[in-house]
């Protein structure tokens, strides 16, 4: 355990340059936006010249670049990501993102649940019944899943399960809000306030989006688990297990699964990034007021600061997720010495 903590701390330290780099990249992007930054810092409408002066002072645009970068860093570390210019002019971007984030989190949670609960068993089964009909169906399905655009799947789901066979609500609007708003994640709040209607509503409203979003990662995880499962099944210790007289199931679920899940962990971690990226599209299709839709809206309205802040935010979240996964991996695999 002690070693584990040391490992975590080491990873955290290793993370610092990456995070700084990410910020630098965002900063550079921010500054290579065509046109005079004041034009968007000031918001729409014309500004009197003295106001422009003031803004340039405020944002330190007269400073040399690297000083500006440090200003930027300082702001970000104080949780100040600047102000939106056209989505909610003048609004603090941090507020915007933080209000939107829980919905993205909820969506991502549902999708990852689907990804794990369906992907892993599917992979295991199709590896177990290799070259059987099940296996082939799974493989082709996974292939198609890998090649499907998220937003298109979303639309198709809307057409089928919203219009043709109206089972699920078509969009997010109208979801029942929990009495207690502790986390902003409705499922959890629903449980906290024992409001069953909220729980159910949350599940129903997130069903289609999370399926649409999860499909891609689901397929990738399935393929991954299948392959690593097959790989493991070829290992010697599986033969040993059989030679011990383990039943087929015991061999697969006790000996093979654990080993084959180790590499899968990494992939699942990577997929969280995929989910965050896909959320941008899914939330747009299903009108979920999450970070993704915020970014889309910002793109349509050319709200550069908001887009960049959103990108930075998601990147940071992604980094953290990966860190967690790595630590988990290190924890699960006894061979890794931390």
């Amino acid at each position: 355990m002690k070693g584990l903590y040391a490992y975590i701390i080491r990873r955290l330290i290793l993370l610092i340059p990456v995070v700084l780099g990410v910020m630098l990249l965002t900063f550079i992007l921010m500054h290579s936006i065509p046109g005079n930054p004041v034009a968007y810092l000031g918001g729409s409408g014309k500004l009197p010249p003295d106001a422009v002066e003031k803004l340039i002072k405020i944002y330190g645009l007269d400073q040399p670049l690297f000083i500006q970068f440090f200003l930027y860093l300082a702001n970000v570390f104080q949780g100040n990501l600047g102000t939106s210019i056209s989505v909610n002019p003048g609004a603090n971007i941090t507020d915007l993102i933080l209000t939107a984030f829980p919905h993205t989190v909820e969506l991502t949670i549902y999708s990852s649940i689907i990804m794990v609960l369906v992907g892993i068993p599917a992979g295991v089964i199709s590896a177990k019944k290799r070259n059987s009909l099940t296996d082939n169906v799974t493989r082709v399905g996974a292939l198609i899943g890998v090649s499907m655009p998220v937003f298109w799947l979303g639309i198709m789901l809307q057409i089928v399960f919203g219009v043709a066979i109206p089972i699920f609500p078509l969009l997010w609007a109208g979801i029942h809000e929990p009495a207690v708003k502790a986390t902003g994640i409705y499922l959890i709040d629903g449980f906290l306030s024992l409001d069953f209607r909220t729980i159910v509503d949350s599940i129903m409203h997130y069903a289609l989006p999370s399926i649409a979003l999860g499909a891609l990662s689901l397929s990738i995880v399935t393929r991954m688990v299948r392959s690593s499962m097959l790989e493991v099944l070829g290992e010697d210790y599986i033969r040993t297990a059989r030679a011990k007289g383990c039943s087929e199931n015991a061999t697969i679920y006790r000996h093979a699964l654990r080993n084959s899940l180790l590499p899968a962990t990494t992939v699942i971690g990577l997929q969280i990034g995929g989910l965050l990226g896909g959320a941008v599209l899914t939330e747009t299709v299903f009108a979920i007021p999450g970070v993704g839709r915020l970014i889309t809206d910002a793109i349509l309205k050319y709200d550069y600061p908001l887009v960049m802040a959103g990108v930075l935010f998601i990147a940071i979240i992604y980094i953290i997720a990966n860190l967690v996964v790595d630590v988990l991996y290190a924890y699960l695999d006894p061979r890794i010495r931390y």
Binding site: F196, R197, R254, R293, D297, K301
Partner: protein, 635 residues
């Protein structure tokens, strides 16, 4: 194995019992205690601070939080007393408002004339405001603690409507004259002690003056609250700042604005307890939202209009609107080095206006879907006295151009603009200095589907008359504040909404040569038009004004400065559960206090069923875990 089966059965039972227990106990059985009116909006409000609101989303919210001095009789264009119980218009340079008494703000403060004065001065041009603040009678800081920081307050930003208030010379509280020599205690004054009059003076005779005070921008705010909250607070959470029928509850950015009923409203106390303005960006989502009853009221998409109309649960309202949509030509010569100048030729403009498919734009499903009428002149029919009903499109026996490719071709040929090099595009050598091909740039603002599609349409039909069209999309502010005013486009589509119900607003800002680099983007520069417009502005005799405007109209039509496109209808759609909705001709949603709503049972699968399903799913998952654990690791 058997064991785990037993376990699972037990678990399923337990869980489903638990589920049903939760159902019985959970508050879902109880219906919503409050009646809520849900309104879908296409975008989040920009601000809830009246003075710089300009988009319709903000206006709709603001109109329900705040009141104005002058308001409209519901679903008409007649004025009715608002926060001003009455007004006298002294020989057309001065208006005196009598402020309503015993009006309280949402935080309980009584509304004072000073609030009115303070709120009105905010929309004035900067120079005027500084003049007001530094004027003799408000000069000591203790009396006016914030006179020194008014500019920080508004972030140096003028109100979006300041232009309209240029003719205003002075706004003051009555009896200032003989109070001037005593110490001023304006902000302590309460209505009824002789301070209940507001005097507005115009520098020049200004006929439509009264309507200026019906804007959302001129809403009366509680100056104390306003100064406490500061610009940010006023923008996002104006708690207790207004006197309107609803008081601000909460605004979840990019999600919804919630307003609560204000019991002590001076007028009709609202029937609904709560109003939610939900932001639903995508049009199709909005349509689905109202069809599924997730929202009760919205401005419907013209594309989905007929679906909503045919829906038994939905009522709709459609009437000719007050706004106009036109395709403008860049009429100026040799602007900033660009090739054109060819469009400064009236005949060319005429030819082009024959190559625009008005019918498709008005009736096409991708465009207005038949929910608009052909625009024939700058002013809309709703203003009968200035409207010249004799002007009709050609197919109705009038003179206005209609879609007629052959005619367009003939005109261009007659001008001698022909395709020399045989590349299918006419050549204009000799007309301009730069390029040979007759090539034009069409500009639209990204995100406006109709304008983009019009571009596609134009490209196609212009190709048929041998004109090459380049479609160029830009972000709204760039489109408006950079490209158009700098003449970066040859052709573009724009709309115009009336600032006040008077022909002046349809002519003066758009065709007077003094607005050429701003609102008069077409660059109309005709001296006779200028003079007539100024006359009409100053004139009070309606018949004379009407005549002047009709003359101007004729000139403009024969000059083909615009291609007169269409007048969109005002569309409203609401669930049948909503009664008493007053549709405003101004295409806005004020007067929500009259709306009543009967709560309807929520549709969809009964919660209990889902509860069971969920219970079972969870159970299976848990058992799966247990089974794996048992079979898997003995460790």
């Amino acid at each position: 194995m058997k064991k785990s089966v037993k376990y699972s059965l037990a678990l399923v039972l337990m869980l489903s019992l638990a589920a049903s227990g939760i159902i019985i106990l959970s508050p879902i059985k109880a219906q919503a205690v409050t009646t809520t009116l849900k309104i879908a909006q296409g975008g989040d409000p920009i601000t809830l601070d009246p003075y710089d609101s300009w988009d319709s989303a903000s206006n709709d919210v603001i109109l329900n939080i705040y009141d104005q001095l002058v308001m409209y009789v519901p679903s008409t264009l007649q004025f009715r007393p608002g926060l001003a119980v009455g007004w006298q218009i002294l020989p057309n340079t001065t208006i005196i408002f009598n402020i309503r008494r015993n009006v309280t703000f949402h935080n309980g403060d009584p509304m004072t004339p000073y609030d009115v004065w303070w709120s009105l001065q905010r929309v004035l041009p900067l120079y005027l405001r500084s003049a007001l603040f530094n004027s003799s009678y408000i000069n000591n800081a203790t009396a006016n603690p914030h006179h020194w920081n008014w500019s920080e307050y508004d972030g140096d930003r003028e109100s979006f409507v300041w232009l309209l208030f240029e003719p205003v010379k002075d706004i003051r509280m009555a009896d200032i004259g003989f109070w001037g020599n005593t110490t001023f205690t304006g902000e302590n004054a309460t209505a009824g002690d002789g301070w209940d009059e507001i005097v507005v003076e115009f520098s020049e005779p200004f006929a439509p003056g009264l309507s200026l005070f019906s804007y959302a921008a001129t809403s009366i705010v509680n100056w104390k609250v306003a100064t406490e909250l500061g610009p940010h607070g006023m923008k996002f959470a104006p708690v207790g700042a207004g006197t309107g029928p609803f008081k601000f509850n909460s605004w979840i950015l990019n999600y919804k604005v919630v307003l609560d009923k204000w019991e002590n409203y001076w007028g009709q106390v609202p029937h609904v307890d709560r109003v939610e303005f939900q932001t639903i960006l995508s049009a199709s989502s909005r349509t689905l939202a109202i069809k599924t009853g997730m929202v009760d009221l919205l401005y419907p998409e013209s594309a989905d209009w007929y679906d909503l109309k045919s829906d038994p649960n939905i009522e709709t309202w459609q009437e000719a609107g007050l706004g106009t949509r036109y395709i403008s030509f860049q009429c100026l010569q040799n602007v900033t080095g660009r090739m054109f100048g060819i469009l400064s030729n009236t005949t060319v403009r005429k030819a082009l206006s024959y190559a625009i498919n008005y019918d498709e734009i008005i009736n096409g499903e991708l465009f207005l879907n038949g929910l608009a009428t052909r625009m024939t002149q700058p002013v809309v029919p709703a203003i009968e006295w200035a409207y010249n009903s004799s002007i009709k499109p050609e197919d109705e026996g009038g003179i206005l151009p209609i879609y007629n490719i052959t005619k367009a071709n003939e005109i261009l040929d007659s001008l001698g603009i022909v395709d020399v090099d045989g590349d299918g595009i006419r050549d204009i050598k000799g007309w301009t200095n730069s390029s040979d091909d007759f090539k034009l740039i069409y500009g639209y603002n990204i995100g406006n589907a109709v304008r983009e599609r019009v571009g596609t349409l134009l490209k196609d039909s212009f190709a048929q008359i041998g004109v090459d069209l380049e479609i160029q999309g830009d972000e709204w502010s760039v489109f408006l504040y950079d490209k158009i005013v700098n003449g970066a486009y040859d052709i573009w589509m724009l709309g115009w909404g009336p600032d006040y119900i008077d022909p002046d607003t349809y002519f003066y800002p758009l065709f007077h040569s003094k607005f050429i680099w701003s609102t008069n983007g077409a660059g109309v520069n005709i001296s006779s038009v200028d003079t007539m417009l100024e006359q009409a502005r100053a004139e009070t005799n309606q018949t004379i004004r009407a005549q002047l405007y009709k003359n101007v109209t004729n000139i403009l039509i024969n000059e083909y400065v615009w291609a007169w496109c269409y007048i969109p209808d005002n569309l409203y759609a609401w669930r049948t559960t909503v009664t008493g909705f007053k549709h405003s001709p101004l295409d806005q949603m004020d007067d929500l206090e009259y709306v009543e709503i009967t709560p309807s049972a929520g549709a969809g699968i009964p919660v209990e069923v889902i509860a069971i399903i969920v219970g079972v799913v969870v159970a299976v998952a848990v058992i799966g875990g247990i089974a794996y654990w048992r079979k898997g690791a003995p460790a």
